[in-house]
Structure formats: C-alpha cells, structure tokens
C-alpha cells in the first residue's frame, strides 16, 4: 500500500468517526485541527483505524502519536 492509499483510507475513517465529510488529513494534522478530537474520541479513532487496516497499535505507539503522519508511518510499517 502506498502512502497516498493509506491517506485515502485514513480520510474515510476520520470522516466517519467525526461525522464530517470535509475532513482531509495530512502528515501535519494534529488533534487541534479536527473538531471533536479529544482524548475520548481518540480511543474511537484508534480502534477505527485498527479495524480499517487490520493492524494493532501497541501502548507505546498510541501514547506517542503526535500527528497523523506518525500514524501513517506505523500503519505502513505494520503492513510492510
């Protein structure tokens, strides 16, 4: 899967979870950029991303995620 394909699917997940069809995420997107992305919704987001890509984040990864770019890195690493 290419990084662009990962982003295409990530956009779908973000739009579902935050119920906002206008969201487009990029490497630099953080929780400050998306309305409703608080610590509780973060859990829902992580679970939705896991099921979308069939992967599991470990505790260290979930804690250290700083932006969507790092999330994409982990997804690509696990799929690779």
């Amino acid at each position: 899967m290419t990084r662009a394909e990962v982003y295409e699917r990530l956009n779908g997940v973000f739009r579902d979870v935050f119920d906002d069809e206008t969201i487009t995420v990029c490497d630099e997107t953080t929780s400050d950029d998306v309305e409703g992305w608080d610590s509780l919704e973060h859990i829902n987001l992580v679970v939705a991303v896991e099921s979308e890509f069939g992967i599991r984040f470990n505790m260290g990864e979930v804690n250290k995620l700083k932006n969507v770019g790092e999330m994409a890195d982990i997804i690509l690493r696990q799929l690779g």
């Binding site: 119920d19 509780l40 859990i43 829902n44 099921s51």
Partner: protein, 595 residues
C-alpha cells in the same frame, strides 16, 4: 426507524466507527421518541458505553439524556448527597462496575471466616449503595454482576477453593442475585454471561484497561450496551410480544407440499431433524413467557396443519393463536395476524429462513424486525441474542397471555353468531373488579402503563416506584380494572390516575388494553371514577387528550363519555370537562361490578 447495523448480529466496527453519523441519522429520522433520563455510574471509563447505548436506545424509540459520573466515582455519586444527580432525576440508573472494582481479594492463607468477611464487606458496600439509590431516586437500578477474572492463580482449583478469584467472584454474584430476587426495580446486567459469550480472553484484554481505563475491550462495547439497552427498553414496555413463524425450512426441514408430511426433516432420526426439533422446543418454551406464537406460511392449510401435527412435532395447533397458511403475500398475512391480535405489526417478530420473504415483510411493514437467522443450527442463537423478549418483570398475566389471546379468538367467533352486539356483550357474562391500586397488581399496572400506546389518552409513562408513590398520595385517585368473562380472566386491563385539585379531578392517565376493546369496560371505569370523585366532593372531571402517532383511536374518547371539549390547540391537544351533578347514572349496563 430500524437501523440494520443496530440489529443483532450487529456490525460492531460500523457502530464504533460511525456512531456520530448513526446518531444523527436516528435523531433526524422523524421517529416518535420517548424521552428518558439515564444515569450511568461507572467504576471505569464509560464514555464509549454511553455513546453506543444511546444508539441502541434511539433505535428502540427511546431518546436518552445522560448523567455520567466522573471516572470511577460510582460509589461516591451514589452514597453522598449529589445535587446534580438529584436535579437530573434519573428514570433509570445503570451501575457499570467490573471485577476491577473489587476492593479486597482473599489471600491463599486466609481463614474461611476471613473470606466470608470479605464477601460480606464487599456485598454490604454494594447493598448500601443500592438501598440508598432506591430510597433517593425511586427508579429502576441496573447493576452489572462480575465477569470472571483475567487469570486463575490456582488454575482449575480457582473455581472451588474459597481463596480462588473465580470462587470469590462467583460467590459475590450469588449475593447480587439474592438481592435481585428480593428487591423489585433492581436488575442485573449479566456481564458474566455476555463476556463469556464474547470470549473472556478478548473481553478482558488488559490493553484497554491500562491504556484507557476501560474494563472491557472497546470492540466489545456494543455487546454490553446492547444488553443494557435491552433491559431499559423492556422496562419501558418496548419488548416484542410474539412471533410470526414460517413453516417450511423454518420449523421443519423440507417443503411439506412437495415432500409430504412423512418426509420432512423433524425428529430424532437424523441430524437435520434433530436441529429442527431443538428449534421447535426453543420456540415453544417462549409460551411460558407469554410470547404469542403465530404461523404465516405459503402452504395449503391442510399441509400446514399436517406438519404441525407431525409425530415428532413439539406443537399442537392450539399452541398458535393465528395460523395463516395460504398463498397470499406474507406481509398481508402478517398484517392480518397483527390486526386479529389487536397489536401493532412492529410488536411481532418475523421468523423466516427466506431472505426474500423477510425483505417483503420488513419493507411493507415498517418497524417489523425479521432477523437474518442463518442456518438451522444458528436459529436459536441469533434469535436469543436479539433480546426481543428481555424479561424484566414476569407478571401472572404474562404467564397466561397465550390462553387469553386464544379466548379472544373464541370470543370473536361467538360475536359472529350474534346479530345484536349488546346481546353478544351480555352473553359474555362479564364481571369486573375496579379498585384503588393494590400492591399485588403494581407490577402489572406498571407494565400496562408502559406498554399501552393505542388506548392511551396522555401516553404518560410511570415506573413502578412512581405508581407506588402516586397510590400513597392522598391527592390522587387511582383505579385499576380487572375483567373476567365466561372464557376466562383477562387480568388487569385498564388503569386510571387522577389528581384532585380543589373541586376538580384532572385525569393524568387513562389506559386500556386493546384486548378488551368494545367490551364497555371504559364505561365501567368511568362509573368508578365518577363515584370516587363524588365521594371526595369533586364537582368536575377534567380530561386531556395528547395525540401521538399511535393513539388516534381515543381522539374522541372523552366526547363519547359525555365530556365537553373546552379547548384545542394547533397540535391537536384537547381538554375536556365533565360536570358531576348530584346524581350520576351509570353508563355501564353489561358488566357486573364486584364489590
């Protein structure tokens, strides 16, 4: 509106990923909702549980508002004065605790007395909380039991050694059940079963505890919330009332019209027949809960009856209230069955192996559920997990309901033999007991107040606790009516609540079960209300009609009772008045009233 993602077997991932969208769609669906206030007192994170619970409740036609305790504050919230929870005035309280909330575990060296002491201390802590909540909030309480532990220190011995965690939790659960058995308005959410069903290893994954302080796997939340929603919808009268069943490849294997009665798969001889027999026994067992069984089959009637009478059949024809076996479309038969039973189609569940038939019925009759039952070996699990008939109270009437509906069919036949309707009514030899609320009938009165949609003037819902308070309040007139006739006892079928203010009595609630429509029971209730009012010096009875999607049949009810309409607003809400003169002439002429 019924959302497929929210019917069992539900799409867990879709629910979790799209909860906001599903919520918006449900709220915008234009469905009529009952508003309820739900307090969640949690011993771990509850936000996701609340969000998914909201979806399932909306899908049941209940629009919840929530009070959610701060993280792990369930005990403090319950035990100490809590102005915000008191102001919230919950309709139901859900206590979400888990084995993570057990305060002290037995140590291997502990004496039996010490372990007993631990059980008592833990149980007392919970009982103190339940007693206080019941006393302060007067509403139903739903309490999780304990799921089994993550690990077993002693292996299999953990189950029977008093120091084992498995043994300890099992004993605590038994203490919880003893309380549930002796306290009304208290219900267990059986997470011990739900977690086992889900898979304890997955349910208890410690990742979600250490990471988010969830006491269960986030992916398991829909299964938990669904069970809580089922208890709540049952409490508020939204259980299903019966089955409408297909025959060929549903209650037996094969097509009886083609294969002949001797060649259908049913009975102990071979595996397929055994599976259908097991399913028949499962369906038949529902009669014990008062669930109504009906047949909707594309078959010649003779073939259908022959199959029901098969040598290994669990049924006789009498087990079914309505048997529609013909070549009409199934949705039309389904609607006819609902009509004969005086029920809304959506209160019956359609069981058919054929997806096309399920589609027709659910498309034509909105709100009807027809679970995708899969293969015959999966029928039972699918239907059972769907929670259609979640039992919160089991009244005597539930146990007798099949009998009562069958009597109704006999009454209908008798009615057809009379030219004059009042002759028919007299031939029924009816007698009624109409009295102020009595403790023995509170459960049934609560059930009726939550279930009646059609013959319901105000559609006000009461919990049992509220009814008890109302009955004890000297400002209120309460009446229940029980009707018996030559075919049997109908049980409590009508309820009236009025509050007296000055010289007027305002009727807050007037409901009647549709199974006694057109029996003049409403006149008997009116007579009793008038006499109760006169005895208190009330000069005027004030009635209100608030229209809903379902209660059109009583729009002109007060007019028919002799009330005068005094106002009507743009929504069709009407107010009515009845002047009580010195002498009141009884309106009921056909029902004998027992003192």
């Amino acid at each position: 509106m019924k959302v497929k993602e929210l019917e069992y077997p539900f799409d867990t991932e879709a629910i979790l990923a799209r909860k906001k969208r599903l919520r918006r769609e449900l709220l915008e669906s234009g469905a009529a909702f009952t508003d309820k206030k739900v307090a969640i007192l949690g011993g771990s994170t509850t936000s996701g549980i609340k969000q998914v619970l909201e979806l399932f409740l909306l899908n049941y036609g209940i629009r919840p508002s929530f009070y959610e305790s701060e993280y792990d504050q369930y005990y403090q919230d319950a035990m100490f004065p809590n102005p915000s929870l008191e102001a919230f005035a919950p309709d139901v309280i859900y206590i979400h605790t888990s084995n993570r909330n057990v305060t002290a575990w037995p140590q291997v060296a502990d004496s039996a007395e010490t372990v007993d002491g631990l059980i008592r201390a833990e149980t007392d802590r919970f009982i103190g909380m339940w007693d206080r909540l019941a006393a302060v909030y007067h509403c139903p309480i739903i309490q999780n039991n304990f799921e089994m532990p993550l690990y077993r220190l002693m292996g299999n011995r953990d189950a029977y050694d008093i120091h084992g965690a498995v043994n300890f939790l099992t004993r605590l659960n038994m203490e919880f059940y003893a309380y549930a058995q002796t306290h009304e308005n208290f219900y267990i959410c059986d997470i011990n079963y739900i977690s086992a069903d889900y898979g304890l290893k997955e349910w208890s994954k410690p990742f979600y505890w250490h990471m988010y302080k969830y006491a269960l796997n986030v992916s398991a939340i829909p299964y938990l919330s669904f069970n809580v929603a089922n208890i709540i919808k049952s409490l508020f009268g939204k259980n299903k009332k019966g089955f409408v069943l297909d025959l060929d490849n549903t209650l037996w294997g094969g097509v009886i019209g083609d294969d002949g009665v001797d060649n259908i798969a049913l009975g102990p001889e071979e595996p397929e027949g055994q599976a259908y027999s097991a399913f028949q026994r499962y369906i038949k067992a529902h009669k014990q809960l008062g669930v109504l069984l009906n047949i909707d089959s594309k078959n010649d009637r003779d073939n259908a009856i022959a199959g029901i009478g098969h040598r290994d059949s669990a049924f006789t024809e009498d087990d079914f209230i309505c048997v529609k076996a013909n070549w009409d479309p199934k949705d039309r038969n389904f609607a006819a069955i609902a009509e004969e039973l005086n029920l809304l189609p959506e209160s019956l569940v359609f069981i058919d192996d054929n997806p096309a038939e399920r589609h027709i019925v659910t498309e034509q009759l909105k709100g009807v559920q027809a679970p995708a039952i899969g293969d015959v070996t999966e029928y039972i699990q699918t239907i059972d997990r769907s929670g259609f008939f979640e039992v919160t109270t089991l009244s005597k009437d539930d146990l007798k309901r099949n009998e009562m509906y069958r009597e109704n069919v006999q009454r209908a036949r008798l009615e057809a033999s009379f030219a004059d309707y009042s002759d028919y009514l007299r031939s029924l030899d009816m007698s009624a007991v109409i009295r102020p609320f009595e403790p023995a009938y509170m459960a049934r009165i609560a059930q009726l107040s939550n279930k009646s949609n059609q013959f319901n003037l105000t559609t006000r819902r009461y919990t049992q606790a509220e009814l008890e308070q109302t009955a004890a309040d000297p400002d209120y007139i309460t009446l229940y009516g029980k009707l018996t006739d030559r075919f049997g006892d109908n049980g409590v079928v009508s309820v009236v609540i009025g509050h007296v203010a000055g010289e007027a009595c305002h009727v807050d609630l007037w409901i009647m079960s549709c199974r006694v429509l057109k029996r003049d029971m409403e006149y008997a209730m009116m007579d009793a209300l008038a006499h109760a009012c006169q005895a208190r010096g009330v000069k005027k009875i004030v009635g209100h009609y608030y229209p809903t999607a379902k209660n059109g049949m009583v729009r002109e009810f007060y007019g028919a009772q002799g009330f005068t309409k005094v106002s009507e607003d743009g929504q069709g809400n009407t107010d009515w008045e009845y002047e009580l003169g010195g002498d009141y002439e009884n309106k009921n002429k056909v029902i004998r009233i027992e003192e």
